[in-house]
């Protein structure tokens, strides 16, 4: 199953999560002051940015601001740094349970399928082209143990599964794929996209290179209008991954989109990565994927299979963090005495 004309299967490095203390603190006060025993799902916002240091991948990060603001903090909403290039917002859903038992009893596969369905619908409705961050929609389940100040949680980054999987015909550093003129023009166009507050946090885009080697970056929704022109088109995305031989997770759902919407069987893509905050064609990758799914895979009524529960050190188990040291009033009183 892994072979398609003897080409290697395109393998994606999973997205990884990172949760800041401020998120758990705000969740605790929300739970105590507002939510009570209400277990309804909560809309949250994760943040990520393209990989910027060759040694480490970037993460989907949750901060205090990831949760809805307190009623008396509404005024600060405006501050939620729109256009912050280091904090591209991604929508997510939080299911916080009241007990550890109900946390473990959650039907994780159904929850994941429900999120995949949202992504699939956004692809078919065209919403994903207007607001591409929805392609990286994520899921978080948690149990906040406010007696012990410990938090059990599990992330999922839903990825629509291409069956059979996409294969790879080429994957190289962008600097090797492009001519020096093209590389320079693509870098300049990407830096312009990243420096404009209206596009800095838009993580999927089109890279077009005209026959005169001039590159420009355009929003995904311009795909149709780019067709008439005599130019190369690549699908670009902010790649959180730092690995030299694998694209990161966000490429999965954009490949699903290009097939579902435009029936593309051969897709060139740019894994956009930075060095010290600027476009880096040495670490960015350019690749070409072949997608050949059976008839009917594109049926809007029929959601493809989905994967994406985050592993914890290679195992399928949830994570747990204890903040008793910094949050437990009893312990704080003792350490202050």
């Amino acid at each position: 199953m892994a072979e398609n004309e003897n080409k290697p299967v395109l393998q994606f490095a999973p997205f990884q999560s990172s949760v800041h203390e401020g998120f758990w603190r705000r969740l605790s006060s929300l739970k105590l002051d507002i939510l009570g025993i209400d277990q309804a799902p909560i809309s949250i916002t994760g943040f990520y940015a393209p990989c910027s240091h060759a040694q480490v991948s970037n993460h989907l990060t949750l901060l205090a601001e990831s949760l809805p603001p307190d009623a008396n903090e509404q005024a600060s909403l405006e501050v939620l740094s729109l256009g912050n290039r280091n904090r591209c917002p991604v929508p997510g859903t939080l299911y916080n349970t009241n007990t550890l038992e109900s946390f473990h009893a959650l039907d994780r596969q159904s929850l994941l399928k429900a999120e995949a369905k949202k992504i699939w619908e956004d692809i078919h409705s065209g919403k994903a082209e207007e607001d591409p961050a929805v392609l990286s929609r994520f899921l978080l389940i948690s149990f906040a143990d406010l007696k012990k100040w410990s938090f059990h949680y599990w992330f999922a980054f839903p990825a629509l599964v291409l069956e059979p999987p996409a294969t790879l015909t080429d994957l190289r550093p962008a600097a090797q794929c492009f001519s020096p003129e093209e590389a320079e023009s693509v870098s300049a166009a990407c830096n312009k996209w990243r420096n404009s507050s209206s596009t800095a946090d838009v993580p999927f885009f089109l890279v077009t290179i005209a026959s005169n080697l001039h590159a420009s970056i355009r929003p995904l929704r311009d795909w149709e209008t780019c067709q008439s022109d005599d130019q190369q088109i690549l699908f670009g995305f902010y790649d959180p991954c730092n690995l030299p031989n694998n694209p990161g997770w966000p490429l999965r759902n954009i490949l699903a989109l290009t097939h579902a919407r435009w029936n593309l069987k051969q897709v060139r893509f740019l894994c956009y990565r930075e060095k010290q905050g600027f476009a880096d064609m040495g670490s960015s990758l350019v690749g070409e994927a072949l997608v050949s799914v059976p008839q009917g895979w594109n049926d809007p009524q029929c959601v493809p299979n989905v994967v994406g529960w985050e592993r914890n050190k290679g195992r399928n188990v949830p994570r747990c963090i204890s903040l008793a040291e910094s949050m437990d009033p009893t312990r704080l009183a003792i350490s202050a005495a």
Partner: protein
């Protein structure tokens, strides 16, 4: 402009005389850092902790997910063992001068750094995850963990998922372990000392929060004993490690004096680049950006 409106009339600059910054100068220097090194950004932090004397969207500066490949403590030991002099600090706290002009990476042998290739090679050997303070749920909390693992094999069956990224190569008898921690480095304005102040939030290999005490392993050992303390962050929740600012003004004054003796007129918007260069001697293995490929000031001759 915004800065003027908020801070009122500009105070006389004590930048060259004392190595300190006024509030408006801090904002100017921060704007310049963000524009030259875009991995840094301004943030507003916790609304309840907002300082009225700073613009609400420019309360502090932060760069996230900064790699830290080695523990500063072990780098210093190796450097000393190799017969090198420790340049990091001395009684006057001006040891940074000895390293001036050298990128901080050159303080240790780059070839000893674990690279992707060494990771690839050692993958074939024992593979285990490095334990961390915070981790998965306790085994006793999940009696049915084995069941969990078996029942959830969808991702394992997915040939398009790269499997190995969570594993860390570990060789018990070899120190060549990839200990990639990451840091969020933030800079706040300390109104009392009138200088910037650096804060460190650490994460382990699996991006779980590090105890602040473990952050001390990534601080030059002289400073870990003397000037780095664990305190409440002025804009973020929780305790974080911080370089105490009591000597910052004096150190910055020395840096400015050295530059002026070389005929360079320091400019206040470059303050944070100089400051971050000095801070690099305190946290030598945390690889944040502070590149200075431009003039520090106007050269007078």
């Amino acid at each position: 402009d915004t800065v003027e409106r908020i801070t009122g009339p500009r105070t006389v600059s004590a930048f060259k005389e004392k190595g300190v910054l006024s509030i408006s100068e801090f904002v100017i220097a921060g704007d310049n850092l963000v524009s030259k090194c875009p991995t840094w950004s301004w943030e507003s932090g916790e609304p309840s902790k907002r300082k009225s004397y700073l613009p609400h969207d420019k309360q502090y500066l932060i760069t996230r997910n900064v790699p830290c490949l080695r523990r500063a403590a072990s780098v210093e030991e190796e450097y000393e063992a190799a017969g090198g002099e420790l340049l990091l600090d001395n009684e006057d706290n001006d040891g940074w001068l000895a390293t001036h002009g050298k990128p901080k990476e050159t303080k240790y042998d780059e070839e000893n750094l674990p690279t992707m290739e060494t990771l690839e090679i050692s993958k074939k050997k024992t593979i285990q995850s490095i334990s961390s303070y915070f981790g998965g749920e306790e085994e006793e909390d999940i009696p049915d963990m084995a069941e969990y693992e078996e029942s959830d094999n969808v991702i394992e069956a997915d040939p398009a998922t790269l499997q190995s990224t969570y594993l860390v190569a570990h060789e018990p008898d070899d120190d060549n372990i990839l200990r990639t921690r990451t840091y969020d480095v933030s800079i706040t304005y300390d109104k009392y000392y009138q200088t910037p102040r650096v804060w460190l939030t650490g994460y382990d290999e699996s991006r779980m929060l590090l105890q602040p005490e473990l952050v001390m392993e990534d601080v030059s050992q002289d400073h870990a004993r003397k000037t780095v303390t664990i305190e409440d962050h002025p804009h973020l929740p929780g305790k974080h490690a911080s370089v105490h600012p009591c000597r910052h003004g004096a150190v910055m004054k020395k840096i400015i004096d050295v530059l002026m003796s070389r005929g360079v007129e320091p400019e206040v918007d470059k303050y944070l680049f100089l400051f971050l260069k000095f801070v690099a001697s305190v946290i030598p293995t945390i690889e944040y950006d502070y590149t200075m490929d431009f003039d520090l000031g106007s050269t007078s001759h």
